[in-house]
């Protein structure tokens, strides 16, 4: 089963939950933990796997053979992203705008365009007990996270329980990370920001047709409006975690919740059982 842990708002506790769920499940199962927050991957701070494998992720960008090029401008015309311009017998390429679709090289009438890989990040793999950690890491200055997320997700093994740590937000990287999950666990906090961003995240998972449930972190502060929202929207609240200095302190030091306070393991087992019942498979 593939469970994605998402939130809309950042800093609600996605990584805290994803790592504790992975550790709890790894007592009895093979688990893959996929850190798809490739802009700011943090899961391994808690899992401390020994990264044993690392390889670069490339996107294909065009390279023009000026000897063959007639400056007809076809490549610039077909590029939807304005990543190629032809001016004064010169072809300018803007790699950071290129999505690597390949249209320019395929459609060049002179076959003057080949593609070369531009590195935009890396994928790393490591193990810790029964957990296989796979994380992506976007190179600083590169804008596009989705190709790295796609690469991370290629490693999904259907024999394992798969937990995906999703980036914050609601746009393309989130969609790329969440899609094809069997269940999406939405982590929020009981504040107006938490509620606003939860409702956006719910719209995303509904658009993708993925069943979801909510986990409310840091209860005891804020207000009760997240629970009201969940009840009117018919979304189950699967677990609540109180605002607690001890939990915050373990988190700050990179200690997973279920290792710092082992009593939580039972609650994560129960959380997984409930998710299994509510997931599509």
């Amino acid at each position: 089963m593939i469970i994605s842990v998402a939130s809309g708002k950042g800093g609600t506790g996605k990584t805290l939950i994803a790592t504790s769920l992975a550790l709890t499940l790894s007592e009895k199962n093979k688990v893959q933990l996929l850190d798809c927050d490739v802009e700011e991957p943090n899961a391994d701070i808690f899992i401390r796997s020994s990264v044993t494998q690392s390889y670069p992720v490339f996107i294909p960008i065009p390279k023009v053979d000026e000897a063959k090029c007639t400056y007809c401008g076809k490549c610039a015309e077909v590029c939807a992203y304005n990543a190629i311009a032809v001016v004064n017998k010169k072809v300018l390429i803007f790699p950071e705008l290129c999505h690597g679709c390949g249209a320019c090289s395929y459609l060049c009438p002179e076959s003057a365009i080949t593609e070369e890989g531009q590195e935009i990040g890396i994928v790393e793999k490591g193990n810790s007990g029964n957990i296989e950690l796979i994380q992506g890491r976007l190179t600083i200055g590169q804008p596009m996270a989705p190709p790295i997320i796609r690469e991370v997700k290629k490693h999904i093994d259907s024999e394992s329980e798969v937990i995906i740590d999703v980036p914050p937000g609601t746009s393309c990287p989130v969609v790329e990370a969440v899609k094809d999950s069997d269940f999406c666990l939405l982590v929020t906090e009981p504040t107006p920001f938490g509620l606003n961003d939860l409702s956006l995240a719910v719209e995303v998972v509904r658009e993708l047709g993925i069943p979801c449930g909510v986990l409310i972190n840091r209860t005891g502060i804020g207000d009760g409006k997240v629970e009201e929202y969940c009840s009117t929207q018919n979304i189950p609240v699967l677990l609540t975690i109180p605002l607690d200095a001890k939990i915050a302190s373990f988190y700050s030091r990179g200690v997973p919740l279920v290792n710092g306070i082992p009593e939580w393991r039972g609650r994560f087992v129960k959380l997984f059982e409930e998710i299994k019942q509510k997931a599509t498979i």
Partner: protein
């Protein structure tokens, strides 16, 4: 006119609470919420929307099944896995148009996407430009650029001193779009290993684009040992730590009451944010 963008790498470190307080403290400014995927600043500034605009950006392929002869060429060339069984999955489609260019029977057309809305608003603290990206839409970087452009336009027209930008989490497309060309980045971190890791990446991004940065440690007292490490890291990187804000439930209480924390409580948090804005504004206009 000077522009400061508030970033953090890691989400939930307190960017929006700090920006809302700056809104209450700063004179002569326009505010811009560039976290267009999950825009929250409006919840504290309670804007009156003066202008609402549609944001059209990007395209999605559409296959006309009447014309399609099921040759499968489109599926073969699509690198985003967006075409299956002669139908387009609009969520996977990146709008490159390759399929429509090569379809031998012209069965594929490209349709413009309405990808969200952006707003010019008035608040009791001054003008605010904000946006809402459509659900599961792309091009957040372009929408961010549009929000910043319009904030700049207002600042020029009304001769305002500051543009204060609430940035998105991460270091990718939307953050790059929020940061490029700004005068200063204020990096809000927290003393957790995740916060420290993410601070390092967003600082590198500032360096990459040549934007000077200041740091602020929020909730510094939840782990004072980590806070000391952040201070020594910043000292090594020659980044000034201009504020240490204590953890206090009043920040959340202010949020629940829909107010910037500096208007809600008179404690140490208010004092720290007051000093923080003073230092940021001094750096912007020495």
């Amino acid at each position: 006119m000077k522009e400061v963008v508030v970033l953090s790498g890691k989400g939930g470190t307190g960017k929006t609470s700090i920006v809302a307080s700056f809104a209450a403290l700063a004179q002569s400014k326009v505010l811009a919420d560039c976290d267009v995927d999950a825009a929250d600043l409006y919840l504290l500034l309670q804007p009156q929307i003066k202008q609402e605009h549609e944001f059209w950006s990007g395209q999605t392929a559409h296959i006309d099944n009447e014309k399609c002869n099921e040759c499968g060429l489109c599926e073969e060339v699509c690198r985003f896995g967006a075409i299956q069984n002669y139908a387009v999955d609009p969520i996977s489609c990146e709008g490159c148009g390759f399929c429509s260019q090569i379809c031998p029977v012209d069965a594929i057309t490209m349709h413009e996407n309405m990808s969200g809305h952006w707003f010019m608003s008035e608040t009791r603290y001054g003008p605010l430009v904000h946006a809402r990206l459509g659900i599961a839409q792309e091009n957040s970087g372009k929408l961010v650029a549009l929000v910043r452009q319009n904030a700049k336009h207002i600042a020029e027209k009304e001769n305002l001193s500051y543009i204060i930008v609430d940035g998105p989490p991460g270091i990718g497309c939307a953050v790059i779009s929020s940061l490029s060309g700004a005068n200063l980045a204020l990096l809000v971190t927290e003393p957790t290993l995740s916060g420290m890791h993410d601070l390092g990446r967003v600082l590198e991004l500032c360096r990459h684009f040549g934007i000077p940065a200041l740091a602020c440690i929020n909730k510094y007292d939840i782990n004072e040992e980590n806070s000391r490490q952040i201070e020594s890291y910043c000292a090594n990187q020659k980044v000034e730590v201009v504020s240490r804000i204590p953890f206090d439930n009043v920040v959340t209480e202010a949020l629940v009451n829909g107010l910037p924390v500096v208007e809600f409580s008179d404690g140490r948090v208010k004092q720290e944010i007051y000093n923080l804005w003073r230092k940021v504004s001094e750096r912007l206009t020495p």
